[in-house]
Amino acid sequence: MHELEVTFLGIESSCDDTAAAVVRHVPGQMPSILSSVVMGQTELHEAFGGVVPEIAARAHAEKLDIAVERALRNAGLTLAALDGVAVTAGPGLIGGVLAGVMLAKGIAAGTGLPLVGVNHLAAHALTPGLSDGLEPPYLCLLVSGGHCQFLLVHGAEAFTRVGGTIDDAPGEAFDKTARILGLGQPGGPAIEAEAKAGDPNRFALPRPLLDRPDCTMSFSGLKTAVLRARDQAIAAAGGLRRADRADLAASFQRAVRDVLSEKTRLALRLYRDRLGDSPSLAVAGGVAANAEIRAALTEVAAESGARFVAPPLSLCTDNAAMVAWAGIERFRQGGQDGLDLGARPRWPLDRSQPALLGSGRKGAKA
């Protein structure tokens, strides 16, 4: 039965967005997204100068039903036409995850449909299969507001983490740098726009841990360096001049680009060592939308002879189509959960790897 066509409802509410989607897959064909509804919080959050989780969390409970109804209507289906319900069971904000899991359980209990709990990070890492039909194994750089890790993706539930950040994720560094420079939120697009007018070589910002021959990254010290350079620029000019701000944004973006592309080069080498030739590099997460970073990663893949896959932004930011797809992949391998499915605020993809040690002893900030 698992070899046949399956249609799954996906539910995602682990952070700021409330989302529902319907995905259908026929073995041997590309999966098709029948509908994908994301009810964002951007407008509400802008008023507060950042993301406000309570609004998100409250809205999850209020908006989930509407999102699911809308996803089914857009797909032209009823619950009876589904083969299963997939839901993000973690990691994430407990209020949001619980709201999604409760709704999915309710649907499963009411209809008798199989329930499949999905790891949010796994859903991001499996997205290249949904968008481009990419099959494991491949190297995935998952780079977003809250996450930054290199994963060897072996299958729907098999991941090896080969590196990641020991402190801030790049998306967070973009947000905080935007705050430091008095730019709007979210910081990614704001910095990218500001950087267009700036000189990326004006400020000598650090490339933390670039001298280390592994895939460990650190972005916290970079943020502090921007802060210091900003204060010096303010002291020199009696205020933050527009040109200085643009140069700071450009220099920051260049530093993040350099770190990500160099570490990706190392990760690809590691991939070859472990899994042999002909690697594929998939970049998932909102930071991949940054044109300069994307161009650099495309170049790194090309020089390594790797296929480069970057799903469209709509599938890189939080969405439920990726959850439905990850659910289908798990379901095909016999994965299914009971009504005792719990919400897991913390849920690392790869528990076998040792922790990336903090910067205290080694002085990553130095």
Binding site: C15, G146, L227, G363
Partner: protein, 185 residues
């Protein structure tokens, strides 16, 4: 009623006399990230469940670095050390160090204290060792008993940090002892 109020006043005054450290900050200069980590490790050795550390300071002042060093030094006593990512995006991260539950929260993205109920922070404050960045968002939920730590960067020494530690409420003798040893070393 007047008499009772008078008694109350007397008790408060008495308490302040017997706890001279109350609300008087201990100021330390930390020469670099390693010194911050050493302070975190030393404090970690005397902290218990139910203790709350409120970490103040601007972006880049070193709040998360301090919290990470504290959590990982506590976990190192029990073997397995975990990653301690910045909680800015996830708001709350929870850890275990042996039997001790640790909550690491960053409330920057909160707009109203009413949001805290949904995060489960109220329960954590009494049951876990809780580290809170941007504690000004706690509002009326601010615990009366807490160790306030304020970090700032001295203008001329970007690698150093000045930390002001203010114990509020009773029962910080162990911490003060550990800090005294630190200051004397």
């Amino acid at each position: 009623m007047e008499g009772l109020a008078g008694v109350d006043d007397g008790v408060k005054t008495e308490a302040m006399i017997t706890r001279p450290s109350e609300a008087r900050p201990i100021v330390m200069t930390l020469e670099g990230p390693e010194a911050t980590a050493a302070l975190a490790e030393r404090l970690g050795g005397v902290l218990r469940s139910g203790d709350t550390l409120l970490l103040q300071g601007d972006i880049g002042a070193g709040k998360t670095h301090f919290a990470r060093a504290l959590i990982q030094s506590l976990q190192a006593r029990h073997g397995a050390v975990e990653d301690v990512p910045s909680p800015t995006f996830t708001i709350v991260q929870t850890y275990h160090a042996g039997p001790l539950e640790i909550w690491h929260a960053d409330l920057y993205r909160l707009a109203d204290p009413s949001e805290l109920a949904e995060l489960g922070l109220e329960g954590a404050l009494s049951q876990a060792l809780t580290l809170v960045e941007w504690p000004d968002r706690l509002g009326t939920m601010t615990p009366s008993r807490a160790l306030w730590m304020s970090f700032r960067i001295p203008p001329d020494r970007p690698e150093a940090r000045i930390v002001e530690i203010t114990p509020r409420g009773a029962g910080w003798e162990r911490v003060l002892g550990a800090l005294g040893a630190e200051a004397g070393s």
